[in-house]
Each structure stands twice: as C-alpha cells, then as structure tokens.
Amino acid sequence: MAQIEESNRRKSKKNYYSKTLRVDLTPMVDLGFLLITFFMFTTVLSQPTIAKLYLPKDINVKTPIKKSAVLTLMLTRNDSIAWYEGNKIKNEPLAYCNYNNLRSVIQQKQAKVAKVLGNRSETVIIIYPGKESTYENFINIMDEISINDITHYFVMNSKQ
C-alpha cells in the first residue's frame, strides 16, 4: 500500500511542477538585503559636517583686553601646546599641555576669571599657531573654544 501511495504522490508532484514554475527566491532576498545594508552605511558615512570660521579683517586696531583674563596658547610641534596666563614674564618657563588635558587648563582659567572679574565669559584666548602645528591641532583648539563657550578669541598670524 505504502509503495503505491508513494508512487502516486510522486507522480502528482511531478505534474504539479510541470504546471507552475517555482523559483527559490531566498538567495535573491539575501543579496537584496546585503546591498541595502551596504548602501545604508555608505550614505550615512559620506555626510561631512562643517565647522564655521569667521575671521575679522586684518586691520590695525588695538583691542583693549584685561590682562588677567587672557590665556595664551601656542601650538607647537608634536601635538603639544605651550601656554601662559596674562603677560609673559621674561625667563619664566612655559607650561605645556596636550590636547587631552587642554580642557582642564581652559576650565581652570575660566574659574579664575569668574573669581576675579565676576563673569566666566570674560575669558580671552589668544592662539598662536606655530609653523610646525597641524590643521588638526587648529581644529581641536576651535573645538575646545566652542565646547567651553569662549566668546572672545584671537587667532594670530604665525609670523614669529
């Protein structure tokens, strides 16, 4: 009995296949989703952002600033920064920091300015990009300026 049934079923199946053609779409779906994943990642990653930079005209106007509010950063080679507060005193050794602890230097300065002048936003930062400093260094500094909400800063020409 079983044999007969089997043969009957096979026969019917054969007929079925000859009538409608059924294609296995699984690999095609796989491929589709693979490509979707690829395009999703590439579209998101290729969106560049911009940092706005507005510079003033080069004019010889002296801007009065309070010495106690000034923090001068000199970008030097090998991703290090030399800094001093207020006026540079002759023969006084410069303090050095790198881009990881720059934020604490700026924040300490802001705290000091808040104590002396009453308002944190009085802080002035003067930037001297050295000949050996890189563009990445400069962008990092501009980032720190926007991160710490510094409203007064000067970028000096590196003609030292």
Binding site: R22, D24, L25, T26, M28, V29, G32, F33, L35, I36, F39, M40, T42, T43, S46, Q47, P48, T49, I50, A51, K52, L53, Y54, L55, P56, K57, D58, L75, R103, P129, G130, K131, E132, S133, T134, Y135, E136, N137, F138, I139, N140, M142, D143, S146, I147, N148, D149, N157, S158
Partner: protein, 214 residues
Amino acid sequence: MARAKIKRGSTHVDMTAMCDVAFLLLTFFILAANFKPTEAVEITTPTSVSNTHAPMKDAFTVSVDKDNRIFLNMTDEIKGDVFDELVQEKNMKVTPEDKKYFMATGFIGVPFNQLLQFIRIPSDQLKNIKLPGIPADSTNNELSEWIRAAKTAGMGKKLNFLIKADDNTKYPAFGKVIDAFKKNDEYKYNLITSAEDVPPGTPLYEDNLKAQHK
C-alpha cells in the same frame, strides 16, 4: 491499527513579497545616496563637534592635502561661469572644446600655464601623476585669482567657500588659503570636518540639550 495521520505541510515560504520589499528599499537607498565627487587626493579631515551639514550647492572648495598642495573644485552650477571669467581676465585663448574638458574635470590641481594640458588628462590617470597644486605664495598667488574669478562669476549668488584640509596639513599652508580669501574680502569659511560627539557635562553639551528641549 492505523497510525494517526499527521498532515505534512510544506515549509516552503513564498519569498516573492519579501524580495519585492528588499529591492524597493534597495532602489530607495541607491537613489538617496549621493556619490562622492572625484577627489583630488585622499584627505582625512579632522573631527569636530560641529553638527552642521556641509552645503552642496554653489560650493567652492579649496582642499589642502598632507603635502601642503592646494587643489580646487567647484560645483557644476558655477564652474562654467568661473572658467569664462578667468579666461577673460587672463586673456587666454580657449576653444569651446577646452571648456567642455574643463567642465568634465573633477578638480584643478595645476598652475594656469598647465591648465589646458591638465584638463585633457583622463581622470583615471590622474592618480599616477604627481600634481604640483595651485600656487598661493605672496609673489604668485593664483589661488587668489581663482577666488576673485569665482566671486565675480558668482555675483548675486551666495557662494559657499569650503576649506578641506588634511589632519597633517601644516598650519602655514592653511594660513595661505585664509590669506588668499582675505585678499578678496572673504571672511566667512566653512571648514569641512567629520562629526564627533560633544563631551557630556561641558557648556556646549548643555546648550545643545536645551536647544533640543525647545
């Protein structure tokens, strides 16, 4: 005794619908993707906390690579006008064919005297050639002339001046680009960077949070 019959259903799932969805999404992403224009050279931009997206229209981009060479590219809307303006200003003899080649080049990376040869080089061969870049010294500032041509050609439009420099570009090279812009009374720049998260707890982070809640 007969065994209880278990009806064996087929496990075959109809994939047609799923396939349709997959390809519909695929088409969407292909169309939504904006492909990168031909890059002069590979430039790794630094990261910044800025979250503004780069403008894509009327863009005049100055690129500086890690060897401090300067390249230029423009979007198609302004390219033709800039070329006409420059030809007029420099009294160059050009044919309509020259302009066609110029429109097809992705970027400019040579001084004026080599420009017409340069635009005829097929883009797939450009990678093998060591390009000199556009001069921007104080004695021979061609970059400044390009900017002037772009400003004259783009009169009435709001041009977006973008600067794209590499991580390892030395600051003086970037300063030269800024100087060339300043010569043309242009003081607003967009520096192309890649996005970076704002460190939590800082003033900017809190400002962004406030802006989100509004």
